[in-house]
Symmetry: C2
Subunit: 392 residues, 2 copies
C-alpha cells in the first residue's frame, strides 16, 4: 500500500517552480465550488480584475488558460496564426526556439531573428528583418528569457513592430509579478505567462492578455482554430458575461491564482518590483564577490533569475546534487548550449527576500568549498548586505 | 482591497466537479518539489502505477496530461489522427459531439454514428458504418456520457472495431474510479479521463492511457503533431526514464491525483465500484419513489450520474437555484436538446455515500414541495434505504 504524500522539504530557487506562498498553498485546500456556480463566477471576475492590475493593462480579454505557461504560448499562436501567415520570432534562448516549433505546427512561415544565448534581440535586427520580409503578421519575443536570465527591452521594439503593421507578442512567463510588463503603455498586443514563477502560485495556469487589435485579428480568422481546447473565442465566452460552458475550469488552481494576485496587489505592484530588484541585485553582488561571473551584461540582467557561469574546475551536476541533499536547495542547470556551463538561480515572488539571498549564498559558498573552489570567505554575504543597505 | 478567499460551502452533486475528498484537498497544500527533483520523479512513477491499477491496464503509456478532461480528448485526437484520416465517432450526447469538433480540427474525415440522447450507440450501427466506410483509422465512443447518464457497453463494440482493423478509443472522463474500465480485458486502444468526477480530485488533469497498438500508430505518423503542448512523444519522454524536460508539470495537481488514486486503491477497486452501484441504485429508487422518471433505461444507467426528467409543471432554474441557496446543494441541468428537460445528479467518488443520497433526496423533496409538486411524503427515503438494505 502506498503511504500518504510526504515529500522532502525544498527551497526552490531554480528557474521555477518557485516556492509557493503559504497563504496560496492554503487556498488550494479550499473546498470546491462548481464551475458555473454564481459564487465561482464572481471569483473569476475578481481574478480577471487582479490579473489586469498585475499585467498593467485594461485589456478585456485577460484570463487564465487551463494549462501551464507553454499552453499559454500555444494559445496565442493557434489563435493568432493561420496556415501560411508570416511570423517573426526573436530567438536568443530555449523559449524563443520553442515559439518557432509551436508556430510552425500552426502552419506559419517562420522567420527567425537570432542572437547569442545571453544577449538581447537588438531592435535594429528586427527592423532589418521586417524591411526584407513583407506582410509579417506578428512578431514575438521573450521578455524574460528563463533559459538565460536576459531581460528583453520592449518599448522600442513595439514601436518598430507596429510601424510595420504587425502584432507584437511577448512571452512573459517569468516577468509577471516580478518586473513591469506595461502591456498598455508599450502597446503589447498579446502576452502569456505562467503562475509558478514570480506569482508564487503552483504551475498549472497560463494567464494571457490580448489587446483589441489582437482580438480583431481573432475575429478576422478564415478558419476554425486548430485547437478546440485553446480556442479563445469559446474560452472568452466562458470568462465573460455569457458564461457559456466550454470545459470544467481548474477550480483549485484559480483559487490559488486569485490568492497569489491578491497578495501582490495588496503589497503594491511597485513595491513588489522594488523587492525583486533589491534582492536580485544583492544576489548578483554576492555571487560576483565570490569570484563568479554572471552570464548576462548588467543592463540586461533579470533580477528574478540570475545565470552564473560555472567555474571550469567545477562539476555542474555534483554541485546541484549536493545543494539538494545537504541544504534542500534547488537551483537550475543550463539548457541547450549552456548545459553544464551555467547555473540559474531564481529569486521569484515570495522567495525574493533577505533570507533566501543569504541562505543561497551561504549554501553555494559551502558546497563550492567542498568541491575545492577557493574564494574569500564571507565576502559574498558582505557584498550582498552592502548592496541591500545602499539600495533599500 | 480584495479579501481572502471565502467561498460558500457547497455539496457538489452535479455532473462534476464533485466534492474533493478532504485528504486530497489537504494534499494540495503540500509545499512543492521541483518538476525535475528525483523525489518528484518518484511521485510521478507512483502516480503512473496507481493510474494503471485504477484504469485496469498494464499499458506503459499511462500518464496525466496537464489540462482538464477535454485536453485529454484533444490529446488522443491530435496524436492519433493525421489530416485526411477517417475517424468514426458515436454521437449520443454532448461529448460525442465535442469529439466530432475536435477530430475535425485535426483534419479528420469524420463519420458520425448517431443515437438519441439517452440511448446507447448500438454496436450493429457501428458495424454497418464500418462495412460501408473503408479504412477507418479509429472509432471513438463515450463510455459514460455525462450529458445523459448513459453507460455505453464496450466489449462487443471493441471486437467489431478490431475486426475492421481500427483503433478503439473511449471517453472515460466520468468512468474512471466509478465503474470498471477494463482497458486491457476489452482491448481498448486509448482512453482519456478527468480528475474531477469519480476520482474526487480537483479538475485540472487528464489521465490518458494508450495500448501498444496506439503507440505504434503514433510512431507511424508522417507529420509532427499539430499541438506542441499535447505532443505525446515528448510528454512520454518526460514521464519515462529519460525525464526530458517538456513543460513544467502542474506539481500540486499531481499531488492531488496521487492521493486520490491512493485512496481508491487502498479501499479496493471492486469495493469502490460496489459502493457506486449501491448508492447510485438507492438514488434511482428514491427518485422513482418520488414519482420522477429517469431518462435512461435501467440496463444502461450510470450509477455515478443520474439523469431525471423534470416534471412538466416545474421550472428547472428555480429548483436548482433554490437547492443551491437553501441547501448549498449543486445538481446539474440538461445540455443541448435536454436543456430544461432533465436534471443530472452525481454520486461520484467520495460523494457516493449514504449521507449524500439522503441529503439530496430530502432537499429535492423539500424544494419540489415548495414548487407545488406533490408526492407521498417520506416514500423516497424509504425506497432508497430499502434498496441499500437489500443490496449491501
Amino acid at each position: 500500500m502506498y503511504k500518504e504524500l510526504n515529500p522532502p522539504r525544498r527551497i526552490l530557487m531554480g528557474p521555477g517552480p518557485s516556492d509557493v506562498h503559504p497563504a496560496v498553498l492554503q487556498s488550494m485546500a479550499t473546498p470546491l465550488l462548481g464551475h458555473l456556480d454564481p459564487a465561482f463566477l464572481e471569483i473569476m471576475n475578481e481574478t480577471m480584475d487582479l490579473l489586469r492590475q498585475v499585467y498593467q493593462t485594461k485589456n478585456k480579454v485577460t484570463l487564465a488558460m487551463s494549462g501551464t505557461g507553454s499552453a499559454g504560448m500555444e494559445t496565442l499562436f493557434v489563435n493568432l496564426v493561420e496556415p501560411g501567415d508570416k511570423v517573426m520570432i526573436g530567438v536568443n534562448g530555449l523559449f524563443g526556439q520553442r515559439m518557432v516549433d509551436v508556430a510552425s505546427r500552426c502552419g506559419a512561415e517562420v522567420i527567425q531573428v537570432k542572437a547569442a544565448w545571453g544577449d538581447i534581440i537588438e531592435p535594429e535586427k528586427i527592423e532589418d528583418a521586417l524591411k526584407t520580409n513583407e506582410n509579417v503578421k506578428l512578431v514575438a519575443v521573450v521578455h524574460s528569457e528563463t533559459s538565460t536570465g536576459v531581460r528583453q527591452p520592449l518599448q522600442e521594439l513595439s514601436e518598430i513592430v507596429h510601424r510595420y503593421n504587425a502584432l507584437f507578442v511577448c512571452d512573459m512567463v517569468t516577468s509577471i509579478g516580478g518586473i513591469p510588463t506595461k502591456i498598455d503603455e508599450y502597446q503589447i498586443d498579446a502576452a502569456y505567462s505562467g503562475t509558478q514563477k514570480c506569482l508564487s502560485a503552483p504551475p498549472g495556469l497560463a494567464p494571457v492578455t490580448l489587446s483589441s487589435r489582437a482580438v480583431e485579428a481573432l475575429s478576422n480568422r478564415k478558419d476554425k482554430v486548430q485547437s478546440w481546447y485553446l480556442d479563445l473565442s469559446m474560452i472568452q465566452s466562458y470568462w465573460s458575461e455569457e458564461r457559456f460552458y466550454h470545459h470544467t475550469a481548474p477550480i483549485s488552481m484559480i483559487y490559488s491564482l486569485r490568492e497569489a494576485l491578491r497578495l501582490i496587489v495588496n503589497e503594491g505592484l511597485e513595491n513588489v518590483f522594488k523587492r525583486h530588484a533589491l534582492y536580485g541585485g544583492a544576489l548578483h553582488s554576492g555571487l560576483e564577490a565570490m569570484g563568479l561571473e554572471l552570464l548576462v551584461k548588467e543592463e540586461h540582467r533579470l533580477h528574478q533569475l540570475t545565470s552564473v557561469r560555472i567555474p571550469n574546475s567545477i562539476q555542474d551536476a555534483d554541485v546541484r546534487k549536493r545543494l539538494l541533499q545537504k541544504y534542500g536547495l534547488e537551483i537550475g542547470g543550463g539548457l541547450g548550449d549552456l548545459k553544464g556551463k551555467i547555473w540559474r538561480i531564481g529569486l521569484m515572488g515570495y522567495n525574493a527576500r533577505q533570507e533566501n539571498v543569504t541562505y543561497a549564498l551561504a549554501a553555494i559558498e559551502d558546497v563550492l568549498r567542498e568541491q575545492g573552489y577557493h574564494f574569500i570567505l564571507g565576502a559574498a554575504l558582505e557584498a550582498a548586505n552592502r548592496f541591500i543597505r545602499e539600495n533599500e
